[in-house]
Structure formats: C-alpha cells, structure tokens
Symmetry: none
Subunit: 204 residues, 4 copies
DNA sequence: TATGAATGAGCCTTCATTCAT
DNA sequence: CATGAATGAAGGCTCATTCAT
C-alpha cells in the first residue's frame, strides 16, 4: 500500500518523481522494442536496476504503467496544440505550426508513440482508458478544426475533409517506425514535408 | 507432431484445408481485436469450437499461426503486385493499379493487416520471420520502383523519393484502423484518393 | 478456461466429479490444519499429487475452493435438517433428531467445520459469500423454530430463547475442536449430551 | 534489532509503553476483523498512523505481535482466576465468580478473544507458542478443578465431567462472536446464564 | 524515534502444449 | 480426428522486514 504514495517531504518527493519518470521511460523503451505483453516485469526490473518489489514503489501496476506512458505522450502534446490553436493565425500557418510541434514531440517520444500505436486494442477496449481515448480524440479534433477553418476562408479545398485528415494521421503516425534521430531528415523537415503534401492536395 | 500432416486423400484433404483456413481467419480476428499475446489459445479454441488439443491438428504452434496469417496476407498481394509491375504501362497508371489492388486486399484482409502492423516487433526481431520481412521488403521495393520510373520518365518529381514512399506507406497502412466495410468510401475511392495525393505532391 | 467446465461424456464426468471431491476434501484437511491463508496452493498441489496447473481443472480459484468446502458442509446438513423439521413430532424429539443429524455431520465433516469456523471473517465480509451466510442463517432459524414450538406447546421454558440458542450453537460449534473419531464419546452420545443440557435448562 | 529496546528514562518509557499497547490493540482489532494472515503490515501501519519502519520500534515481528495479543488476553485472566480459586468458597459460588471474571474479560478483550480463537492452528502447531498453550491449559484446569470439587462435596453430579467442561468452554468461547457491547445482555447476565445452564445440568 | 526506499522470496494463477484415450 | 486431463514454467504482484537517513 505504501507504493504509489509519493513522499510528502519536498526533497524526497522530487527524487521520487524523477525516478518514477525514469521508470516510465525505461518501460516505454522496452515496450516499444518487444511489445507491452511480451515484456515481463522482471525484464523491466532488470532494466531499471530495481528489484521486483521496488519497482512497485513507482508504479501501481503494469497496466497503469502503460496508461502513464500514454499520458506522458498526450498531455503535453495536447497542451501545446491548444496553445497553437488559440493563436490568431492563417490556417495554413497553424497547420504547419501544429505539425512542427507534433513531429518534434514524436522525435522526443518515439518509444511512447510506438507503444501508443501498438496497444491500440487495449486502449480501445478497456473502460479505464477513456481518458486517453478522449485526449486522442481532442487532438484529432484540433487538427480537423484547422482544416475546416482553411476550407471556410477559401485557402483549402477538400473533396472529403475527414479523408484528408485520415491521410495526415496515417502519414504522421507511421513516422516513429522509420524515424532515425541521426537520419537525414530532421523533425522540422518531415513536418514541412507532410504539410506540403496536404496543402498541395488541398490546392484549388 | 502428428499434427500438421494434412491428409492425403483428396476429399479429406480439402476439408482439412478449409478448416485450417477457418482457424487462421478466426485467429486473425481475435488477434486483431485483442492483440496476439493477449489472446490465449483457449480463447481461440472457444472461438473455433474445437477442444484444446483439436486445434493442434491444424496448426503447429501459436507462433506459426501468426506467420501463417502474415503469409495469407502477403503472398497473394505480392503476387498480384508483381503482375501489375510486369505489365508495360505508364508509372502513374501502374501506381494507381497497385493502390487499387492493395486497398482491395486490405479491405478483404483487414484483420490480417491489423495483426501484421501490431506485431511489428515480433516480425522484426525473430529470425524465423525472415521470409515475411523479405516479402514486405519486396512489396515496398515494387512501389519504389514505380516511383523511380516516374522520376526517370519525367512524369513525377520528388524532392526526396524515399520520403514520398514513406508518406504513402503511412497513409495506406493506417487505413485498416478506420476502414469500415459499410462506410462511405469504397476501397477504390480510397486508393484513388491516396494516388491523387501522391501524384499532386509529385507534380512539377 | 478449460478449467471448471466438467466434461459432458458421462464416464469422464463421473471421474471428474470424483476427483473434484477429492481435491476439496484434501483442501479441507489442509486448511483445517494450517488455516486457509497459511496454506499455499503448492502445498495443496503436493497433497493432491497434481501439478500446479492441473489443480485448476477442478477448482476455479483458492477462494472458490473455500466456498465449495462450505457448500459441501452446509447443503446436505440443511437439507437433512429441513426433512426433520418437516416431520410432525414433539419439539423435544425434533430437537434431539436435529442434534443427532448435526453431530453426525460434524463427525463426518470435521475438517469442513473447522475451516468454516475459522474463516468467519471472510464469510462475513465478502459479498460473494452471501449464499453461505444464508445457509447458515436458515439452519439456525430451523433450530430456533423448534425451540419456539417447544415454548408454545408448554414443554420448554426459556427466560431468553435466543440466548438459549446461542448457548446451543456455542456448544456444538466447539465440538470439532476436541472431537476424536476414536474417542470415548460417539456423535450420538454427544448429541444426547447437548440435548439434555438444553432440555434441563428449559425445564419449568 | 534496535527495535524493541524500550527507553530507560521513565517519562519516555511510559509513553513508549502506552503506544505499544495502542499498537497491539489496533492489531487485535484488525486481526479480528480480517484474520491474522489476511492483515498486512501495511494495513497495520495505515491504521496506526505510523510508517512502515516506525511500527517496528514497538514490535519485533508480526508473529510476536500475535503472541503479545494472546499474552494480554491470558495473563490477567489467569491471574484473576487464580485469585478466585485461592479463596475459600463453595464450588458453585466459585464457578459463578470465575464466569463473571471471564465474561467481563471477554467483554473488554473481544478482539483479543476472536484472534485467539481464530488462530488456533498457529497456536497449536508452532513451538514458540508453548507458553500460550500452557496458559490456556492452566485456565481450563482451574475450571475443571472447581467442577471436581463440586463433585467431591456432592453439590454437583456429572455423568462425564470433562464433557461438561467442554460444554462450558464451547458456550463461553462462542460468546465473542455475538456479544454486543450495547446489546440486551450484560456480561454478568451472560455469565449467570451459563452458570445456571451448567448447574442445572449437574443437579442431581 | 520515525521515515520510506528497497529487498527478494513467495504468492496465486495462466498458458501453450502434449498425449493417452 | 478429436477430446480433455495434465504439465510446469513463467507471469504479475504482495509482503514482512531492513536500513540509511
């Protein structure tokens, strides 16, 4: 029961939070490599250097760990996306800004993204994943809104806007599977590439 | 190991093969819904109506079952793609034909595709998945070849062709996650949509 | 999942049921000796001769096993008690008959009784123990009814009938803790002893 | 092992002893509610308000804690019983006095009694429980002596004295399971009730 | 005194697979 | 072909306890 109740004294609390994030990051890496189900808790303990029980000071269950990974992925991304959407700017410019932020986040959370994509079935089926599902929905809604604004102000033309959105989602969500930190293309370049594809496709 | 020696008498053999395909299809459905690892063999026996041991007359192992699913997905697709590539036709037309075939296959093998995408880590890591990896590589090579031919004959222009290919793969591979058999868009329309996106992006 | 679904073919089914009862009896013995919580499933597997997983063909969980033990204790006892209560007979005679049946049952289910008494807290607290609680209540009600009938027909006199019942329950429920199959006193003698104590105490 | 060395300075020592008794009382309550094995040390820390390690300043181990509970139950009871037995008084009167003391003790140590009854198997099996077993034995011997004296002086008649004792033990030991501090019956009334039952049963 | 991080053995249970029938 | 009993390793997780602070 002591598990998962972070200490109250500030110094300890900080150390606790830091280690917790380390654990989550390590888990994200292993899950991305081997799959969530295929990764055993003992592989995770080995990777973290903690003993079996010690791990459970920082997480409540393997399940919750997966949720935490998704939260760490979606929370800051959604927050940033909302900031961008709140600014007054032409839709095309907003779209580009969103893609830049998105791809930068993917680059820094590649493992998280891979896990998130992989565990689609869990996320979709279990009830206590509602919040995560909501976050994803909200992000996709923000994207759709930008496209809709583009349509309204006459700078974008879509035969089928929701299909265009799915196209975009497909391209971006696939990125973590080939993205290489030391690769030829930087996240910004990739974002620009996607943006151009969409804007060209939506040109009158 | 008595398992997996299909009967030799033609009548029995046919029934055997039919049932085997049923088993694989059922497995594909369950794996797509719940994930490969998260699906237990006893869920599979329940879904097939067979008893624990009976299943093993039709498959060698859970592992092999996964490979069979991928084979059923990739073999006919690659075969059809090779036919299309073998025909003499302008690259843009070939690309469209490939996409039509591809999307049609996805529509009829949605579960297989979902499983294939999900189990990326298994496919990539284990040695006895080499054949499957090869098939996928070969298919992607065919696509790249078409784009390359388009570049050579001056009908397509890419700033970065391999990035264009990744863009295409992303869009298409994401499709099974939202494709609805009774949805607004037919596989052909989707294929055309993707084709247009790529061709526009590659327009001079 | 295969666990706990008894076979349908009669011959197998019978063997299955027999073994299941053996498992429950063995469990009752171990639980009585060491306590439910203090008995590990591996001690149980060792005692049954089955391997870890094999046990679970016959039980659904350690928890359910405990419930089954109580069911095997209470179901036949309650049934027999109802038969006795249904007969037309003077209350004193019915009381004696009930005690005979009860003590005989205790003698043949000593382990079950010890477990039942020991695990009072589980039985009282958990919701899925409602049926068991109901059975016990029903049995105690039958006893109380006999005493009430004795009061009404003037053959028994209690200052406080419910206290008298508790007295009786105390005496009987304590029995398994000292009862010795090869002891001086037979279950019938013990039953008569308790009966006499109550009848004397209720004499005018 | 730094634990369990109570302070030597009187003021601190007193506070220490007070807290220790609180811990034991809390443990008794939890153990009575949930069972000894089923109560985790972290439930106990939560209930005491101490942190994991802090508890161990007051106890040596969970095991010893259980022994302490039994000691707190048996020591004063046995002492009081010996006083009563030492007085010169007619057996019937002594029996009543013993029952009064006993039931009063049960009323004020209900949790202790429940735990003591529940953990019969531990008490009986483990070697370092000898002292506790001895205490119980001694107490029961005192009771038996009173009955024996009653037999000798002709005021009590038992067909089987040891059976009568078991009857008494059953009644009394069952009491904590239904005793209600705010119930209809006071400990004295209950004690008188039991006493009457025994005396009537032993009437010539 | 008190905290809480950490241990590591052990818990109950599941699972893919085999094999006698 | 098919059944279902059986295996035993491995799974995620809990727990009493220790110890540096």
């Amino acid at each position: 029961m002591a598990a998962i109740s972070p200490p109250t004294r500030p110094v300890l609390r900080e150390r606790y939070e830091r280690r917790r994030r380390e654990v989550i990051a390590t888990a994200a890496r292993l899950f991305a490599e081997r799959g969530y189900q295929a990764t055993s808790m003992s592989e995770l303990t080995e990777a973290t250097g903690l003993a079996a029980g010690g791990l459970y000071h920082y997480i409540e269950s393997k399940d919750q760990l997966l949720i935490s990974i998704c939260d760490e992925l979606l929370d800051p991304l959604l927050e940033r996306a909302r900031e961008i959407a709140a600014e007054e700017a032409p839709p095309a410019q907003q779209l580009r800004a969103l893609l830049h932020a998105w791809l930068a986040h993917i680059a820094s959370h590649r493992d998280h993204m891979l896990v998130f994509a992989q565990e689609r079935h869990v996320i979709e089926r279990e009830p206590h994943w509602r919040r995560v599902r909501g976050q994803r929905k909200a992000f996709e809604k923000l994207l759709d809104d930008v496209l809709a604004r583009g349509e309204r102000d006459g700078t974008m033309h879509f035969e089928d806007r929701s299909f265009a959105l799915l196209t975009l989602l497909g391209m971006v969500n696939y990125t973590p599977q080939w993205l290489n930190p030391r690769g030829r293309l930087s996240p910004e370049q990739i974002a620009d590439g996607y943006c151009d594809v969409i804007l060209r496709a939506s040109a009158a």
